[in-house]
Symmetry: C2
Subunit: 338 residues, 2 copies
């Protein structure tokens, strides 16, 4: 049995740099026609020169695989000219509150002072992508940030806003209040709760930001995604860390889900009797909201059990060691080790 | 400046066996006149022969230090004769719901079927110590268990019940409904929340069961302890794991706080202007509830900054590397490494 997906997109993706970029980019490029590339490198991507160089590195890392990197600029105060010049080369600007996640120290500290830049984004019709968390108690951070989304949506009624990697029932509910608000959902937040991270033995491989929430939250995400909400689309937030950074005292946050994204999504949608809605989640909804027309690309899965390797070079993958019911057709020889 | 504590007790303590017992017991014996010893060894302590042998091993591991191990039996269905015979050699029976924490697989699966044994405990005036968690969502497990405490307290009105290592505001509130209900509180639950475990980098060293809860819960614990609640007493729940069990994929739960317990408690009570209530928390309240009269022993702290070693042989301590404002007088040469 085969499943052919039409131009699947990963609309929230961390590809890192250098050796790590070379290691991880092919996994995304093998499955997706394109992806929205996060700009929080060690040195954030906050100018056009750097963005162009990074884009080139990504394309080189993808080799012959036809993958379109949709680039984003790291939010700072930009001038009108800067944004005008960047406009055709970016899909949006990504805003991080300061210190909220990996390499976000240069993020926003004072939302009252960024209204002028956001007004420019609205005027130039450049989407704003937001990591929506406060610095509060870890389980409440997204919930506490929702008033900022509401303020943005009310103050800038023509700005397209993407709530990135939402994890709570309340964020799902907010989506229905504003047509110009959309959200990405990761694979792992459709699958795990805090129980999987810290309910039995502690599982550093499942530690991510935003942290996995409650069964009730997961249920709200699943219901909205599996029912085909038109402003929810897939963003893996795949974020590789070398294994030693997941095991030392003080483990980095981030789940590397790129190698398993499409097969596991197909399995999830099939298990929930909504396989016909998978194209919406992984392609149509995002294309509509972003108004992009990626080069068409068919990606085929086949219904052959696939055991995910324990490790890909230095990085452990989400679901490593597990057996999935679908695999990529013509699965490339991976460098994984069992 | 010196602080002399009168017969301090650690009323919830894991000492393990063999090499680990030899390593960790002296830390407790150096600071405490006695401790309530948990019975969840790999092979649970559920008969008198085993209990006597374990007690001997503990005394041997303490060497010349005058430390009284108050022994507990692992809850199972016991006969009247078994309990009668054990009565003078135990401080109580410790109940674990099945599978809820380290080595609790042999715990209770069906509370409806243990009423007869609990009635015997009540009749023989043997306290029941309880690890009060369900198998539910990790942040809700203690809260969900409270109806079981309430059922126990209402059904067995003369049974002394200890809610072990409570972590929630709701458990504190329950304490006030029944005079025959008491609770232990750990050092770490007075200090950390889930934020410390998973709010920044993931910290396996701070992963424990019950998991650290919310700032609101910690505040309720602190308020009750620092105000001198007469049925709250100290139980460190110090639970050493060799370092490799805290770092591999799947880290064991447990914080090893024995080496820092008294100095850090003194610092906490001092910072909260209630140093005069420390004796109640670490000695008087527990002695009164358990009706025990340990051999008097004065333990002195001195106000000299002390940097906690990074590691004690194979085990990392709570607060390792931190500098505390008090230290044990005549601090023994530790085997710690900076």
């Amino acid at each position: 049995m085969e499943l052919t997906l039409d131009t699947p997109l990963d609309l929230h993706l961390h590809l890192r740099e250098q050796e790590m970029l070379s290691l991880v980019a092919p996994f995304s490029a093998a499955q997706f026609a394109g992806g929205v590339i996060m700009p929080n490198l060690v040195q954030p991507v906050d100018n056009l020169e750097r963005l162009r160089a990074y884009r080139k590195e990504i394309l080189a890392a993808c080799g012959d695989l036809p993958f379109t990197p949709y680039m984003t600029l790291f939010f700072r105060r930009y001038s009108r000219n800067e944004l005008l010049e960047a406009r055709d080369e970016i899909i949006g600007v990504k805003l991080y509150p300061a210190g909220i996640t990996t390499q976000s120290e240069g993020g926003v500290r004072d939302f009252d002072r960024i209204g002028d830049t956001i007004a420019l984004l609205e005027e130039l019709d450049i989407p704003l992508l937001v990591h929506g968390e406060t610095n509060g108690f870890v389980m409440d951070r997204e919930h506490e940030f929702l008033p900022v989304y509401q303020w943005l949506a009310e103050t800038f009624p023509r700005l397209r806003i993407v709530m990135e990697h939402i994890t709570t029932a309340e964020a799902v509910a907010l989506l229905d209040r504003f047509d110009h608000l959309a959200a990405t959902v990761t694979l792992h937040h459709l699958m795990i709760t805090l129980d999987d991270v810290a309910g039995g033995l502690l599982q550093p491989d499942l530690f991510c930001k935003p942290i996995a929430k409650t069964p009730r939250d997961r249920e709200a995400l699943r219901r909205a995604v599996f029912s085909g909400h038109p402003r929810l689309f897939f963003g893996s937030d795949s974020a590789p860390h070398p294994r030693h950074k997941k095991e030392c005292c003080g483990c980095a946050a981030g789940i590397f889900s790129a190698p398993v994204a499409l097969p596991m999504l197909a399995q999830l949608f099939e298990e929930n009797d909504c396989l016909e809605r998978l194209d919406g989640f992984i392609s149509v909804n995002g294309r509509n909201f972003y108004r992009i027309t990626p080069l068409p690309r068919q990606v085929a899965l086949e219904r052959i059990p696939w055991q995910v390797p324990e490790q890909f070079e230095t990085v452990r993958s989400f679901l490593s060691g597990k057996t999935l019911s679908w695999r990529l057709k013509n699965q490339p020889e991976t460098t994984g080790n069992h």
